[in-house]
């Protein structure tokens, strides 16, 4: 394999092929992925979907493929890295490898390591793995298919309701200081009428060296299934985090996501949601705050394939001096998808002159009876609001912080009320407190 692609980044050091006794379908999936990736290579800014997000910097880093030996650092506590303690079922992954499965799972719920299932019961994942994600125009997703080694598999049987949230803490770690790339692969399948809340924290171990996490999550929701997917991304400044989530929704299914991105050198949250059943609905919401040297990309595609489905995209973000944010949101309404209700809104606040934001809304509508809207605003802190707060004695730095928080909090309310919302608001507060000291005091 090495000879095939000596100059293509990330595979020129030789790829780790799957086990020799891998089932043929899996070997085929890997081959297909490798073929797409070797043909396309690392996407460049000439590729439309990557126009505003350059991966060129990856070529300069001497990455090696993660070998699966990294653990949490000594005394490492995933609670401290993630959203803090909560009442959730906790699963920890280090560089995409599952580090243990919670005991006492309710009946009808299976949580397992992908590596374990592929080795012992590949038929459990065969109906779904690689069948939800479309590799053709996703070179990084294709690379994931070629190199995936492990990840999380969650299977919820029809009619089963997972009462406690499942909190997955994904930690990047480079214990030997060697730059690593890894390709976690997750699979979430909810049967008809099943319900679950999945919380994801993507963080870095303290002092981690350069890392690339190129994850793919495939989600299949059966009839009337409901998944609430809450994500907290706060990687280290050494981390590149590319995440592709592909979801397929059956009739009446609901997929609601909230993504809070506050840390990482380059983070791309790409989601493709296919509404395949009438009455299906998805809400893709999120907030981000990018500081100097950070680049956060949100790329969404909602595909209305059938009539009577609804979708709602709402993202809000703030960008400090030297930070960069990208929002690409697309709504596709296919010919038969009459009575579609699809909305999209992106609001960015630039806090300094050299902050950058790129917004690209796209509506591709082939049906004639639809309600679709999109809105995008890029603004600055409202000086009238700032003066009003200061005229009541609130110091400028505090007043600015209050306004930035208010701007973001508004969308954090998408997280269902309760300890989880408080935890997300807490992350916004902590982020604000950190930037407070460094950003305003120096201006």
């Amino acid at each position: 394999m090495t000879d095939l692609a000596p100059t293509i980044p990330l595979i020129s050091d030789g790829i780790a092929p799957g086990a020799a006794d891998e089932p043929a379908w899996l070997a085929d999936l890997r081959r297909a992925g490798l073929s797409v990736y070797t043909e396309r290579g690392l996407p460049t800014v000439k590729v439309e979907a990557w126009k505003y997000t350059s991966l060129a910097g990856l070529k300069k880093i001497p990455f090696v493929l993660d070998d699966g030996r990294a653990r949490l650092p000594d005394g490492g506590d995933s609670d401290a890295l993630a959203l803090g303690p909560d009442d959730a079922l906790r699963v920890t992954l280090v560089n995409g490898r599952l580090a243990g499965v919670p005991a006492d799972l309710p009946a009808g719920v299976r949580i397992a390591s992908l590596a374990h299932l592929l080795a012992t019961e590949p038929s459990v994942v065969e109906p779904h793995l690689g069948r939800i994600a479309d590799l053709a125009d996703a070179p990084m997703g294709a690379l994931n298919a070629a190199l995936m080694a492990d990840g999380l598999v969650v299977l919820v049987a029809p009619g089963t309701v997972l009462e406690r949230p499942l909190h997955v803490v994904s930690v990047s770690n480079t214990p030997d200081g060697q730059a690593r790339h890894g390709h976690p692969r997750h699979l979430i399948v909810l049967g008809d009428g099943a319900r679950a809340t999945l919380v994801e924290s993507r963080v870095s171990a303290p002092g981690a060296a350069d890392s690339l996490c190129n994850a793919v999550t495939e989600i299949a929701l059966g009839r009337e299934a409901r998944l609430s997917h809450l994500r907290h991304v706060e990687r280290a400044d050494t981390a590149v985090d590319l995440d592709l989530t592909e979801a397929t929704l059956g009739e009446g299914a609901t997929y609601d996501t909230f993504t809070l991105t506050l840390g990482g050198r380059l983070v791309r949250n790409e989601a493709r949601v296919r509404l395949r059943g009438g009455g299906a609905s998805t809400a893709l919401k999120g907030a981000y705050g990018a500081r100097a040297g950070q680049h956060f990309d949100t790329t969404l595609v909602v595909d209305h394939a059938v009539p009577d489905a609804t979708s709602d995209q709402v993202f809000k973000g703030v960008v400090d001096a030297g930070g960069k944010a990208v929002f690409q949101g697309k709504i596709i309404v296919r010919k038969d998808a009459q009575r579609t209700d699809g909305n999209q809104l992106h609001k960015a606040m630039l806090l300094a002159r050299d902050a950058e934001v790129y917004t690209k809304p796209e509506l591709e509508i082939y049906a004639d009876d639809v309600t679709c809207s999109h809105g995008a605003t890029v603004g600055e802190l409202d000086l009238n609001q700032l003066f009003y707060l200061m005229a009541r004695g609130i110091p400028e730095a505090d007043a600015r912080a209050l306004l930035v928080e208010a701007f973001l909090d508004d969308v954090v309310e998408a997280v269902p009320e309760g300890p989880l919302r408080e935890a997300f608001l807490g992350r916004v507060r902590a982020w604000q407190a950190r930037r407070h000291a460094t950003t305003w005091e120096t201006s």
Partner: protein, 256 residues
Amino acid sequence: MALLEIKDLHATVEDDDGNPKPILKGISLTINPGEIHAVMGPNGAGKSTLSNVISGRPGYTVTGGTVTYDGQDLLEMEADERARAGIFLAFQYPVEIPGVATGTFLKTAINARRKANGEPEIEAVDFLKMMKANAKKLGVADSMLKRPVNVGFSGGEKKRAEVLQMAMLEPRLCVLDETDSGLDIDALRVVADGVNALRTPERGMLVITHYQRLLDYIVPDVVHVLADGRIVKSGDKSLALELEAKGYAEFTGAAA
């Protein structure tokens, strides 16, 4: 010592082309503790500019004169310092701030002042008690306090909320910028009662208004007529009645 002493104040504001446009052209005015001064004048006379310069709003340049507050050079202080030193501007157009709850905002403001004075933060219970008592006096519903600052408030509610804030922050100098605009007679009475309740021998007030009507309820000690950036006449409360009868023509004519 005078509470506020303005001497020969000149100020400009940038016009649309970025050129400085003189608005205040030599204002002198002294407010002693316990006094209420009214500033009346036609549109464009510089009334709002005067309140904005006193409160430290950006966008205005003082080109001459002095403003001394309680012995300190006010023009050297930032807007938030002035507020913490006890100056309160009741806005003509209170600003809506989505996402910031009214209660949180008020508590932050009170604590900012306490911190500057080296005092401990207000106890949550005391704060709530104080807020409820003041809200009741001003006819401000509990539901309004739960809403974000000024969001979804009617014109009258916004003005009542301004006076509520004023009562909570216990300023030494209150500047009311056309607080009567947009109020019907009942709301005007409620707001005026709220303001009158804050009259003390230590507190001074500067009431800026276009109409005499407000001064039936908030009775001033001194009335100044402002026209074309200058105070062209000062007198007692009867001057306001005179203006109501004759209008501003005499002064705008004189200024032109």
